[in-house]
Symmetry: D2
Subunit: 398 residues, 4 copies
Amino acid sequence: MSLANGRSHLAIPGPSIMPDRVLQAMHQPAPNIYEGALVELTAGLVPDLKWVAGTEHHVAMYISNGHGVWEAALANTVAPGEKVLVPSCGRFGHGWAEFATRMGIEVELIDFGKRAPMDLEVVGRALEADKDHKIKAVLATHVDTSSSVLNDIPALRKLIDDLGHPAMLWADCVASMGCDRFEMDAWGVDLAITASQKGLMTPPGMAFIFFSPKAQAAREGMKMVSPHWDWNARAFPQMFYEFFGGTAPTHHLFALREALNMMREEGLESIWKRHDVLARALWAAADVWGQDGPMELNIADPACRSRAVTSLRLESPNATALRDWVSANAGVTLGIGLGMVEMGDPAWHGFFRVGHMGHLNAHGMMGVIGVMEAGLQALQIPHTGGAVAAAAGVIAKG
Amino acid sequence: MSLANGRSHLAIPGPSIMPDRVLQAMHQPAPNIYEGALVELTAGLVPDLKWVAGTEHHVAMYISNGHGVWEAALANTVAPGEKVLVPSCGRFGHGWAEFATRMGIEVELIDFGKRAPMDLEVVGRALEADKDHKIKAVLATHVDTSSSVLNDIPALRKLIDDLGHPAMLWADCVASMGCDRFEMDAWGVDLAITASQKGLMTPPGMAFIFFSPKAQAAREGMKMVSPHWDWNARAFPQMFYEFFGGTAPTHHLFALREALNMMREEGLESIWKRHDVLARALWAAADVWGQDGPMELNIADPACRSRAVTSLRLESPNATALRDWVSANAGVTLGIGLGMVEMGDPAWHGFFRVGHMGHLNAHGMMGVIGVMEAGLQALQIPHTGGAVAAAAGVIAKG
Amino acid sequence: MSLANGRSHLAIPGPSIMPDRVLQAMHQPAPNIYEGALVELTAGLVPDLKWVAGTEHHVAMYISNGHGVWEAALANTVAPGEKVLVPSCGRFGHGWAEFATRMGIEVELIDFGKRAPMDLEVVGRALEADKDHKIKAVLATHVDTSSSVLNDIPALRKLIDDLGHPAMLWADCVASMGCDRFEMDAWGVDLAITASQKGLMTPPGMAFIFFSPKAQAAREGMKMVSPHWDWNARAFPQMFYEFFGGTAPTHHLFALREALNMMREEGLESIWKRHDVLARALWAAADVWGQDGPMELNIADPACRSRAVTSLRLESPNATALRDWVSANAGVTLGIGLGMVEMGDPAWHGFFRVGHMGHLNAHGMMGVIGVMEAGLQALQIPHTGGAVAAAAGVIAKG
Amino acid sequence: MSLANGRSHLAIPGPSIMPDRVLQAMHQPAPNIYEGALVELTAGLVPDLKWVAGTEHHVAMYISNGHGVWEAALANTVAPGEKVLVPSCGRFGHGWAEFATRMGIEVELIDFGKRAPMDLEVVGRALEADKDHKIKAVLATHVDTSSSVLNDIPALRKLIDDLGHPAMLWADCVASMGCDRFEMDAWGVDLAITASQKGLMTPPGMAFIFFSPKAQAAREGMKMVSPHWDWNARAFPQMFYEFFGGTAPTHHLFALREALNMMREEGLESIWKRHDVLARALWAAADVWGQDGPMELNIADPACRSRAVTSLRLESPNATALRDWVSANAGVTLGIGLGMVEMGDPAWHGFFRVGHMGHLNAHGMMGVIGVMEAGLQALQIPHTGGAVAAAAGVIAKG
């Protein structure tokens, strides 16, 4: 007998739960790709994507995952031999830095560990040390999907401005866009990337670069940009096929259109607020569980936590045991503790993550918290009672 | 902002949650209805349906809802002027009795109210009073979807046998089949009805009569049976079209096939056990909530409660307020309190039901309980704390 | 190697090709059946169904196939012992007559064979002979799905009126509605039945009775009407559940809503015209094929042929051979020659039917005609050339 | 009234018709991307993709369209400043050459026009002239989607071998794979590319590079390969995420799995044969139409025509008029005449293409031919009769 039989709930930090409306939108015949409805649909995505990112500037769409647009962003604006600064707060800053390095770009990486946001003083010192302004861009991670840290992008902008440094400010918003508040133009971000499969509620396979005039100036200064990555045709197409440098990803376009319809209907402020309440419900439960036991939120300061994903610690092998228990007994898939320690390390089984991004409501979140409570009881992992009621209290206040 | 945005959860007592596999199975072209795959598929449903009902005897399939097979069962075996005994424990026994009455059948209805199963002593007295054995069938409701009472069918069988009464024993299993344990042959049931949209996890539109040789003998004794309802062609078809007396319900057959595949994979004992644990989780929560507050399970004795649906009381207008709150704020649809008082009665808003039938797992159930907790807090309805943890404890024990 | 691999084309006379939009509409979670969107959707079907039938009067919806509403129509208005007149022109008139007989109704059946519409003179004589007006209704088949004959309903109305006979005029429009022109009120029809799976482009499982005040008067005169069939609650519901006498067929309602949306978008006159052209394309091909060979349209006079289905003759065993060839080699399923001779009769393999109803366009029809041409060549069945070009000529003229 | 209402038929050269099974496979919840079924499914694609390509060597999968893997192939094996030879026979050879040029690679392009395959003598002279073997690869187009020319890849291999030139032989099989016979290893191809949306019957969004040990040696000799394009991780992954350099395209994987299941069931030889017969049916019709009229196949020699797509000429503005007519009146979308003249050129309306790739059967093809015949008649474009019967004759012979 398994209490997992029923509708499964995916609580990993991406891909998120695909809405029925989105899956339905993909369930249709292939369209004409030369003229007609698809052409209009695609053009109509542009303003809505920019609305999600909070920008009046430009967007280039790619058939890609998030890592692909790490490369695309660099390929358009930073030549081999040029330099970027990467403050890393988990796994994904390191990843972007590795991409840059492999592309022949000079990288200064500052490692802020896995439990805290970037320290702006340290970043400031690095920028000040860059007297001849070799640093072309600061590659910030808005939310690191591994540590679930949330960085203060506006503060970073202010720092760069205060120091009079000309570097572009970039933000990796793969995990955050459509979940945590992000306002590209208001925050002075020059380039932001994201992908389809998290807050945008569309299957993985599309990714996006939003870029400002300053980033475009950098693009114009490049001697060579690979034809596939070149955002000029994509962001400023003369012909329909230029949007995607060849055949358009027809069924993803159907899906994304519907997902953006849903986001328009709900409104960005409402979406952000919903993610905020649901995340705080989980945190409230975790705080209670951990009062007398090993459960611990990876990021201590709530102001520095993402509302899209939460990274937790639960003494090895308890984290893996809990993940396994809720999967086998409750139909919930929790995320592995990515990037905290190496996979072979015995400590690896002491970390896990809960994705709470995209198409998630109070029922889905309370179900996850409820079965975590059941798992803690079943596995006899020490924890304080009252956690689910505390979470319900957050939901009740809204 | 609404915390309801996300995947909705339907917790009404039918239709139940349609599994993705079932919906997918319906999403296909219309088939040939004269030969080929559909013919084999349909014939293959028969043994699996009989397995679900626990019978080696016969099944007739109808394009119908559950009320339709109330009529079909009577039309095949009880002529106008003949008599049936109906012990009613909620709304649906009355409904079957009304059908019989309108068909010209004499009905003796015993009303056991809305909070208790039938009292076998009282039923026994009615049978004993029927000296000349006019009562042709006892129309029992296995589970009454309104009151959520579960009747003890084997005990009723024993009573009839002990009294030496020749009446057939019928069971309305619309709400119970595939949820609460039911074993037609082992329990000596002569005729059982059910429908597709509850434990069978198929959209409403099909219904079934299972019948024993004794019921078939009654059929053979009928002078006139309407051609549509006549189960002879349906249960013993010579040609494919006779299964449904005309065009087969092609897409429902696809759906039902997949639902039965799922049930075969899980196993009946596992299905019943899963329903049992999930129901007891809800009851545990309700017991805690009600320790110091108005929440009350409609059926006091757990042994007399269905594992498919639970009827609750929550002082008007709190029940409706709670239903409205979880719908608007959490994405959960709870069932109205059907059949307890008239809809115009102010007390109507003091009843509700939770459906926990079919494609439901621990995540879905704990999500419902969690948002009910949130709703009680938000609406400041008095309740004792610790309810969700108590429910989790039931899940934890499995 | 098979040239059948690819998208199959179903050319049987029902179920017809299910539109993608309709299948998509069914692919969604079960809804609340007590309140909300489903309630509004269902009420909204009523005016659209009446628009399709050409009536301002009433409609009752049933979870049923077409044969079910044969019984329902009789159960509501004709008591055992009363009499109906059934002019039959194929298989289905006989079927309705058999239903009536088994319900204890007196039936006068006039058999017009399988290749011609009813002869109004003969019908007239039967009505004239009914001096004391025992005939309560004339049960006409608008289109007989087996013979593909189309009867002239307005002329039958005129006949009844001219003779001053008070009998109701009924029409079986299962095969014709939404394909062949039908205007219930303008034509003076008192009761019409149809089902979901042909012109209405919805999977089998719903059926409909449209009825006039005169039919309703007959209903009111009935002493007993079975609760399930009683159209009073269905056509004049006080509560939502009364539309279907219990649980509504949720997913069929989604499907039917979308199919009616499509019909509204196209318009009835356009739908009828499209069916007319497509049918004439097939007839043009068949006329050429048959100039020098065994292919023959079952109904000689084009004015008496349905635009929904065409019955053809092709010397046994050629009809079956052709059906088998296009199925195995071209991905097309043609209909068997239902009701022309008994299935065991060797002549049975000399009849087949082509369904061209519902969601069919020029591509689909020309594909069928094209592969029939290929089959005739492959099987070396004598036929005259130029048939497909003749069909194309009909399409070209539009 | 429009005879286009019904199931649309897409006859463009990609995306091809998506099979119902493929669309259904995409209609499911997002999976866990760290472990479980998706991991196994993905690994299982590798042998099946290699089977389709006819290779025992390697495959790298990309989230991309076909143009993306043009870049990926070059990025893995040809450094800026190195040289490739590109024999072009339509539009797409030019395209690949442009990509190479923009990547800093030296390109020798030989333009064979738009109506003929490459002339091996001319290619041979270019290779002979390359005394110091600067040409690292010959970038051949197996089928050019614009001209529909089919090149003789084995003959090109023999030429290179006979000349003792060490250049790799590459083949662009985007249009041909799964349609025209292609046997990578047997033909001595070192690198082949294709994409998901044509013969592989999967929505656009995935593309593939198949490569031999010789190509891998070239990869190993590269100083720098961009991290995203690097096929080493993709073809030889240590961790699941390396298959796609980050998040896997979950729903495309579901789709591709099902499409490959279908291909396995049918068998490659049967698939190629089916495409061959269907293409010859169209050619037979075009030959007849053009006997006395402007219709003309773009490639005169049948041995040099693709079985996936056919390019046709029909005196401007007739080609566009015919495309528009069948779209508006018959539900068929034909392909524009890509790459023959500039879009602004008045001659542009004299070209069109018919896609006959992937999930296509005799019904679909004969439907296209039938409505083209209707269009020619309706538009009074001169043509000889008997074309559709000629096509049917090809189908009949199989």
